[in-house]
């Protein structure tokens, strides 16, 4: 790791100002991706602005079916929040299976969403739940937010404050972990709510998280695992690496989607 200047931000505004004053600044939340990247010298920001201690960016609020999760809420907090579990158990289950306990107690939902790792779990949840990403500048719909592998609609210096969504009537996440990293080789989040059925896939696509529209249509007319029999995703659009080729991942998308539906149908 190369030398870096560490700043602890007191607020989002403070963070924004520290960031703008830095030569090559970088926000750090839980650091579960950024720190390993820096250790491998694949990232070397001049300044780290730590927002993990900003109190009003942390915590879960559930009001009826409306859910707001502060960006600095850890995976363990999401997994263990009783009111959230009552409203949307699927996102608690998803958070409870990210990484290991150490990762879950440091890593944050905001950090995961902002990083948009193609194998991260939360992007699938955000997309399937039709979440809104609230930043210090604006609100961005999940459909507009995830713009490709490790790429988002966030502008330079823009900071995620929270994510919010309406809890669906039914929701489930089915994940097939990579045997080595335990990241998702394929994770499918299925939500059935007022706006219909949404199916979001992470881990498998070669351009990051995506919505499986054929599957959404099929499930919209018949919310049952069998409804997915005639659907498919293209192997050409899938990631291919030493853990599995595109055909395998395309198969996993369907299998995991069926399992998610089976869990709630």
């Amino acid at each position: 790791m190369e030398n870096t200047n560490y700043h602890k931000a007191a607020s989002a505004a403070d963070a924004a100002s520290l960031l703008s004053g830095a030569e090559d600044g970088q926000l750090i939340a839980g650091g579960q991706t950024l720190l390993p990247t820096m250790k491998a010298r694949l990232a070397a920001p001049s300044d780290l602005v730590d927002i993990s201690g900003v109190a009003d960016m942390r915590g879960v609020t559930v009001s009826g079916s409306s859910v707001t999760i502060g960006a600095m809420t850890t995976h363990a907090e999401v997994a263990g929040d009783a009111s959230l579990r009552a409203a949307c158990p699927a996102i608690c289950d998803l958070a409870g299976k990210i990484g290991d306990p150490a990762v879950r107690h440091r890593g944050t939902i905001g950090g995961s969403v902002a990083n948009n790792d193609p194998a991260a779990d939360y992007p699938a949840a955000m997309l399937a739940l039709g979440a809104t990403i609230k930043t210090n500048a604006r609100e961005i719909a999940a459909d507009d937010f995830f713009t490709g592998m490790f790429d988002t609609a966030l502008d330079e210096g823009e900071i995620i404050l929270s994510v919010s969504f309406e809890a669906p009537a039914k929701g489930a996440y089915a994940k097939f972990p990579n045997p080595a990293s335990r990241y998702a080789m394929c994770g499918v989040f299925v939500a059935q709510g007022a706006g219909g059925v949404r199916v979001a896939v992470t881990g498998a696509g070669n351009d990051g998280v995506f919505r499986a529209s054929d599957m959404e249509a099929a499930l919209g007319s018949n919310f049952a695992p069998d409804a997915l029999d005639g659907t498919s995703v293209s192997a050409d659009d899938m990631l291919s690496d030493l853990h599995g080729d595109g055909a395998y991942r395309a198969n996993l998308v369907k299998v995991m989607a069926k399992r998610a539906v089976a869990a709630i149908a």
Binding site: A40, F176, A180, S181, G244, D245, Y248
Partner: protein
């Protein structure tokens, strides 16, 4: 409860390990310590045109930037391979030069080109990044086939076609004839996947040169500090043997990878002389993936012939073994004398012929890794027998049973002479524990849940207790493979045992003490095991090949024999009785049926006060012994794996795993069970998860835990571990050894189970979900 042989005593060493008080090489701090960071090749094959050091030399904290020309200029010798293998045509093996720091060529990604010595680790690493090396990239052969192709680049000038040797064992013509006349011949292509050893503690070294004494001290992560000192002095000429102290303190796992002498230890010692500072290097996990000797990596074509009754009549094996870019210390022996000599398995096979082509590639060197040749042999034999049973429509257990060796000693056609065993007994025990008979019902039940259930067996045998010195010498070994011990009874009766074995997780401080405690009837706590320091311990050969029990403990027993003779003589003299009539037990030396007795400590004190010893007896109570085994030992066992495959994802779950082992006499069943658990976990890793993957350019695609899948607790079932032991007849305690068995016997059992589940024998390791699913898809397509 007894603390002696057979008692499940908890490990003495765990107090310090479990409380974080272990002292590992990286925990050691020397005064005036500097840090080494290596400049490593990013290319798998290149000519080193120039090394630009000036920028790095001028950076803060930098003491020196040293390269291979300086190293060889100082007379530091090339790294050797200590076992000479002779090819079929009588020619010696073609060994290319391996300098600790490359001079003209780099031959794998990670090959060290220079070393930076600086005040801090960070400064050393920063400066290492600033060393610019001009490379002329050369064509790469990263895999066996690429290295043997007609247009392959020449990796070492003196190894034409990249062939290290073309070796054979057994009778070719007789085996061919037997196969030609066989009623059934099973033929298979079998790959043994390349593995990274991954000990929890990465390699480390700290070298100190004492200018006033002209003396060197090296702390290092070694399984065999005396062997390290020997080669560092005799071959690398870093320091004379009597001026070099090598200490291997607590070592956090080795699995073979810490047997060898690596460039880093050599460079640290040499740099400590150059800079007059202690030089420390602790490898990180990436360096471990890039530079620790890998294991396995065989490609084999095998043919096994059977007569009409199912008896094996001939077995022909042709193997290509990957050595990587250089010949590591014992590498040449692994795919030859540690592999082909076990190809008779647990069976009577009248004709065996095996040929092995050793191949250089542009990859990290390959050497012994837990099991070392024997897992490769077991995998070939047990997959062949299982597949043959399926092809012939025979019950795989019955086919094994009619071919088992039943009379001992049994001379195989491939050197080994098995001394003992009850192979059917272990198989029956395992089948009962696994409820073999009830499998069909479980398979049907699983099918109802949409799962494919399979069962697989492996009746492995291995050779431990490495090894009779004269025998291995006649086969090309450069060293003897005896072991040494010294038993010191102190004046107060406490005992120090100095052993040439080295513990890096095996629990010697407990098991060795148990043997001595039982022998002299003294408390376990009164015994201290001393190992790992060439200044404290007499020359010893170290720990690998499951040799510490059969060989290391035998040396201790031999030294105890001598101590006992003297104890009896002293006690008989003092008690005025016959030495042979005395009994040693309960911390006493006593004459049964009388009140004549001496406390154990009183004998010790008498020996050291020397006020009243038998005439002409020397004072003191300390004896040493060297033990050279008369034969290998032959642990064997039957492992049964039962799996369920999810046909939708290809994911395999091991639902049951039974091990029935024959380890001979067991000193500590708790430690043995731990060894079996760890070994099976590594076997599961090889069978289902682990694989080093190189791309065609020689880059390791799997050089982190993001891509190299180690077994975790949830990959493993709860193991059923049973024993059906027969005494080893060739060492005093009757021990066979247990350190590698789990890793040797488990991969074929697991693959046999998965292939049974999916009905397709054409599965290679690791059986990852994508590979299993892909195989099922191609079978489906082929059927349509």
């Amino acid at each position: 409860m007894s603390e002696g042989i057979g008692a499940p005593v908890k490990r003495k060493e765990d107090k310090r390990f479990l409380t974080g008080k272990g002292k590992y090489t990286d925990d050691i701090r020397m005064e005036n310590q500097a840090y080494a960071a290596f400049v490593r090749s990013p290319h798998a094959h290149a000519r080193v045109k120039a090394i630009h050091k000036a920028t790095a030399e001028g950076m803060p904290g930098v003491e020196a930037v040293l390269d291979g020309h300086q190293l060889t200029g100082d007379g530091i010798g090339n790294i050797i391979c200590g076992w000479a293998i002779t090819s079929k045509d009588g020619s010696p093996m073609n060994m290319g030069a391996w300098s600790a720091l490359a001079t003209e060529y780099v031959r794998y990604v990670g090959d060290a080109v220079a070393v930076v010595i600086a005040d801090s680790k960070e400064e050393a690493q920063e400066a290492a990044l600033a060393v610019e090396v001009d490379y002329e990239e050369l064509p790469v052969a990263a895999h066996i086939d690429a290295a043997l192709a007609g247009d392959a680049p020449q990796i070492h000038e003196n190894a034409p076609g990249n062939v290290v040797y073309d070796w054979e064992i057994g009778e070719r013509d007789a085996t061919e004839a037997a196969l030609a006349s066989a009623a059934h011949v099973t033929e298979m292509d079998i790959t043994n996947n390349r593995l990274s050893p991954n000990p929890m503690e990465t390699r480390a070294a700290i070298a100190t040169f004492d200018e006033a004494e002209d003396h060197y001290t090296l702390y290092t992560t070694s399984q065999n500090p005396h062997v390290a000192r020997l080669v560092l002095s005799a071959f690398y000429a870093v320091a004379p043997e009597h001026k070099l102290r090598v200490i291997a303190p607590d070592v956090g796992g080795g699995f073979g990878s810490k047997i060898y002498i690596y460039p880093e230890e050599i460079a640290c010692l040499w740099a400590s002389m150059k800079t007059k500072r202690s030089v420390k290097w602790t490898g990180d996990r990436t360096e471990a993936f890039l530079t620790d000797a890998h294991g396995r990596d065989h490609v084999t074509r095998a043919r096994m012939g059977f007569d009409g009754d199912g008896k094996i009549v001939g077995f022909q094996i042709s193997t290509k073994a990957n050595f990587g870019a250089y010949m590591s210390l014992f590498s040449s022996a692994v795919p030859t004398y540690l592999y082909a000599t076990l190809l008779s398995g647990t069976y009577n096979i009248p004709n065996i012929y095996c040929e092995v082509l050793g191949v250089y590639t542009n990859t990290v060197p390959v050497d012994a890794y837990r099991g070392a040749g024997r897992p490769e042999a077991s995998y070939v034999v047990e997959r062949m027998v299982e597949t043959a049973a399926r092809e012939m429509g025979r019950d795989p257990a019955d086919l094994r049973n009619i071919n088992f060796v039943r009379e001992f000693p049994h001379q195989t056609p491939v050197i080994m002479n098995y001394d003992s065993g009850d192979f059917e007994g272990n198989m029956r025990q395992a089948m009962e524990a696994a409820d073999w008979a009830g499998f069909a019902a479980r398979k049907a039940e699983a099918a109802g849940r949409g799962k494919l259930r399979g069962i697989g067996m492996s009746c492995y045998i291995e050779a431990c207790g490495i090894a009779p010195s004269q025998a291995v010498g006649s086969l090309g070994a450069g060293v003897g493979l005896w072991e040494s011990a010294e038993v010191r009874v102190n004046p107060v009766g406490t005992i120090e045992v100095l052993t040439g074995s080295h513990s890096h997780g095996q629990g010697h401080e407990t098991t060795f003490a148990q043997v001595v405690a039982e022998r002299f009837g003294v408390p376990l706590d009164s015994i201290q095991i001393v190992h790992g320091d060439t200044d404290k311990v007499q020359f010893g050969m170290g720990t690998y090949g499951s040799r510490s029990g059969p060989v290391g403990l035998s040396a201790i027993v031999k030294a105890c024999d001598k101590v006992e003779v003297k104890v009896r003589q002293i006690a008989a003299h003092l008690l005025e009785c016959e030495a042979d009539d005395l009994v040693i037990e309960d911390s006493q030396v006593k004459l049964p049926g009388t009140n004549k007795a001496l406390g154990w400590h009183e004998v010790g004190l008498a020996a050291y006060t020397a006020h009243n010893l038998p005439a002409d007896m020397e004072p003191g109570l300390k004896e040493g012994a060297f033990y050279d085994p008369e034969n290998f030992t032959f642990p064997m066992g039957c492992f049964i794996a039962e799996v369920e495959v999810d046909p939708d994802t290809g994911k395999t779950e091991i639902v049951k795993f039974v091990a029935s082992d024959d380890f001979g006499v067991i000193i500590n069943p708790l430690i043995v069970e731990g060894q079996v658990h760890g070994g099976i976990a590594q076997g599961v890793g090889q069978a289902m998860l682990e694989e080093v993957v190189y791309d065609a350019t020689g880059q390791q695609l799997s050089a982190s835990y993001m891509d190299y899948a180690m077994p975790r607790a949830d990959d493993l079932p709860s193991f059923v571990v049973a024993h059906h032991n027969t005494r080893c007849t060739t060492n005093p305690l009757g021990i066979k050894g247990c350190g590698e068995a789990g890793a040797i016997g488990s991969p074929p059992a697991i693959i046999n189970a998965i292939t049974d589940a999916i009905g397709n024998n054409d599965l290679s390791m690791p059986a990852t979900p994508s590979k299993v699913w892909g195989l099922m898809q191609s079978a489906k397509i082929a059927a349509e």
